[in-house]
């Protein structure tokens, strides 16, 4: 069984297996992350299949949101766990960046699409749901394969290429949906607090949504060009080979 020399021997042997890598997640964390990413891949596949089936059944793009509403809410909200993964350290990403990305998705799912019933039948919802679905299927399978150290080049290529179209597509869908929600929010005063009240606080959700839309202007290009740079770094060697005559 374990050598009497020291209890740490087995741990040392384990880390010797991957000598070049930095201290990554332990075996237990890796197993958990594989399961998490497999489940998420499956979840978004369910949403993709749901969309296709509903389209074939109805024969139109209209109102497909209702056919995948529940799994969308479940799996998109579940992504909040990814913030925890960063905070605990089993994933080497920034908590703030991940938090921001996940919460913006959760915001759109719950605080806009779920909360303002009238936008649920808008085509813009289908636009961003489709973009999210394709992106997430690729992303989660990318993570799964990476964790298992068996990443097919196709998945890596897809992850760093599809975004070129999917990102603007998703952003367009999101912005159009928020824009569609504006008149209803203003009319009903949804999530808004007015003065006077004993907390001496006010909040206008309508104005907040407009500010959110404006914030896409500085934020989206930064994220988009970050992915472009990552693409060059990760896929860059393809161009080098093609340069060799």
């Amino acid at each position: 069984m374990s050598a009497p020399a020291s209890a740490g021997t087995s741990k040392a042997a384990h880390s010797d297996v991957a000598p070049k890598k930095k201290k990554g997640p332990g075996a237990l964390a890796t197993a958990y992350l594989v399961i998490y990413n497999v489940v998420m891949t499956a979840g978004w596949l369910v949403i993709a299949v749901g969309l296709v089936r509903a389209y074939l059944a109805r024969g139109s793009y209209h109102g497909l949101y209702y056919s995948i509403e529940k799994p969308l809410k479940f799996f998109q909200t579940g992504a909040i766990l990814e913030i925890l993964h960063c905070a605990v350290g089993i994933v080497p990403s920034s908590v703030v960046l991940t938090g921001f990305q996940v919460m913006s998705r959760v915001f759109l799912t719950w605080a806009v699409t779920h909360s303002v019933r009238e936008v649920q039948s808008e085509d813009s919802v289908l636009l961003f749901v489709t973009a999210w679905t394709v992106t997430e299927i690729i992303r989660y399978s990318f993570y799964t394969f990476s964790l298992l150290n068996h990443l097919p080049y196709l998945i890596k290529w897809a992850r760093y290429t599809f975004f070129i179209v999917l990102y603007p597509m998703g952003v367009t869908g999101e912005l159009l949906t928020i824009y569609a929600a504006l008149p209803y929010v203003q009319k009903t005063g949804l999530y808004s607090v007015t003065l006077p009240n004993k907390y001496n606080f006010s909040f206008d959700y309508h104005t907040f949504l407009i500010l959110t839309m404006i914030s896409y202007i500085p934020l989206f290009p930064q994220l988009y060009f970050h992915m472009m740079r990552q693409r060059k770094k990760v896929l860059g060697h393809v161009e080098d080979y093609s340069k060799v005559e």
Binding site: P196, N197, K198, Y199, N200
Partner: protein
């Protein structure tokens, strides 16, 4: 006199930036920085980080050349810290903003509230009291910056002034907007609540000031020495028995008092954010104390007695 030679290399590119000959062995890093500044006028001493190792810690201005592990020719690595601004300048700017901004809302300067309220005053006396407390707080901070605090670092990176001023000025405007609003609602428990809040506020202001004075007296003028702070004859400093950074404890107390006084959510939010930031600073300071002084009193917590 046996002179030393100093060569300064860029920490990232390892390029030779400067070679100084005829350097006195008892020269300080500060003096070497001044000499380097002469050959590279764009890098004033405050933005120079001089180290023995490209990835190592910065040497201090007071370090003496001959006491460092170098031969007759010392090789130093230089990193540009970026444009610097003095702590005093930053403090004065970030504190003057809230003082003036709050007053603009208090006097209901045009374009903030509906035109019929321009230059009117609130009918609630707690609003006047709040203005006095808020203004007193920032005047106190300005005076302490000018006459009490002894800063160990002269400067900080220039971008900090934009970050810090956005924080202080932004929150001041947000709070002041609601407290001085024509539709402001005074505290539910009325006079009792306001009186209690005022007592807490004043107690903590005096406490905070006492700590600042005690910390100043730890350090003789012009020196950068660090000592363990201990309770003095002033009862407000007895909290040093339980807490490493009682200045932050009292600051939290002051803002809790102000929140109670104004019963305003934005003030509560500002208090919370400030508390989080001060806790981070207190924990850091507490850790440095423990690292530097082996006889550091074990009973002390960073910011809240026994809790945090």
């Amino acid at each position: 006199i046996r002179h030393s030679y100093v060569e300064i290399l860029d920490a990232k590119t390892k390029d030779k930036l400067c070679f100084l000959d005829k350097v006195e062995p008892n020269a300080t890093i500060g003096e070497i920085k001044s000499m380097f500044h002469k050959s590279h006028p764009q890098w004033y001493p405050a933005r120079q980080s001089i180290r023995l190792d490209p990835k190592g810690k910065s040497l201090k201005d007071e370090d003496v050349l001959q006491n460092l592990p170098v031969g007759t020719t010392a090789t130093f690595y230089f990193r540009d810290l970026g444009a610097q601004i003095s702590w005093v300048t930053v403090f004065l700017t970030e504190y003057t903003g809230p003082l003036l901004i709050y007053l603009m809302f208090y006097f209901r300067v045009p374009f903030i509230y509906a035109p019929k309220y321009d230059f009117t005053t609130s009918k609630h006396w707690v609003v006047h009291l709040a203005c006095m407390c808020h203004s007193f707080h920032y005047v106190k901070r300005l005076l302490e910056t000018l006459f009490v605090h002894r800063f160990s670092h002269g400067t900080m990176p220039l971008r900090n002034i934009f970050k810090n001023c956005s924080y202080y000025w932004g929150f001041a405007a947000w709070m002041a907007y609601y407290i001085n609003h024509p539709l402001y609602t005074p505290p539910i428990y009325g006079e009792q609540q306001i009186r209690l809040a005022l007592i807490i506020f004043l107690f903590c202001q005096i406490g905070n000031f006492s700590i600042h004075i005690a910390l100043r007296n730890l350090r003789p003028p012009g020196s950068k020495t660090r000592k363990i702070p201990y309770p003095t004859k002033n009862p407000f400093t007895w909290i040093f028995l339980l807490v490493s950074c009682p200045n932050y404890t009292y600051e939290l107390g002051s803002w809790l008092g102000f929140t109670l006084m104004t019963q305003c959510v934005p003030v509560a939010f500002f208090t919370l954010v400030g508390f989080i930031q001060m806790t981070v600073w207190a924990k850091g300071k507490h850790r440095s104390y423990l690292k530097e002084f082996r006889d550091y009193p074990p009973l002390r917590s960073p910011i809240l007695p026994f809790i945090l």
